[in-house]
Symmetry: C2
Subunit: 113 residues, 2 copies
DNA sequence: TCGATATTTCTGGAATAATCGAAATATCGA
DNA sequence: TCGATATTTCGATTATTCCAGAAATATCGA
């Protein structure tokens, strides 16, 4: 991931509604949720939410697929990994000992091991 | 970390110059760099950069200390860990098996282990 | 104290982003 | 095909962010 792409992804997440949507989709898992369902859950108008979802999609953080009349959105775990990897790799580059505490981030025994 | 604080941190990083500054400081390590040195490295005017540094500081991503005429800025590793932790914890909540690939993020043998 | 260096604060205008109503598109079931 | 449901696109207004010049503040050395 390059800096401009990282800025785009961070910009996409730097908004209360969009971050809430992203977290919701991350929790929803690969099955995802319909756009309307997300709108209801978040409390946003469908057209506004559609804009947000497009932004998240362009940033590579969510994917979409059509299912009948609905469009199902789901978190893009690869995109998320790229973004976090960019930040963490940056952190540890050259001197792993500096960011020791960051190691505990995902090294917790019940998550991502 | 709560959602508003996460949005503030993500907003702070969602800017090409600020993200570049943050990466620079992360690489610089705990010793940090003087504001003027950062400005030169990034290619920004001192006053503009000062604004950026204030934004990063308010977001909890950098710290500052005065050293004579200079102000030394350094990355706030705790703040960074909080932000990444918020995102990763969110990712893995409840179903660790979903984000398996994210585990490789910081589990690489030469970093943060 | 005075001048030089380093950084910050203040200000205003320009660029960008957010939001909503209305209209358009896509799909389904009858 | 037609009406209903689901979502997106368009257009315009409002709000926010970005940036640089000018001035203010802080520190040091002479």
């Amino acid at each position: 991931m390059q800096l401009p792409a990282a800025v785009e992804a961070l910009s996409a997440l730097a908004h209360a509604s969009r971050l809430a949507v992203f977290r919701l989709l991350v929790r929803a898992g690969p099955d995802g949720m319909a756009a309307g369902e997300i709108a209801r859950e978040i409390g946003a108008l469908p057209n506004t939410l559609s804009t947000h979802l497009t932004i998240l999609g362009n940033a590579g953080l969510v994917r979409s697929r059509r299912d009948g009349r609905s469009v199902i959105y789901s978190a893009d775990y690869d995109g998320m990994r790229d973004l976090l990897g960019f930040l963490v790799a940056d952190c540890c580059a050259g001197r792993p000992e500096i960011c020791g505490t960051l190691g505990e981030l995902t090294a917790s025994p019940d998550c991502c091991t």
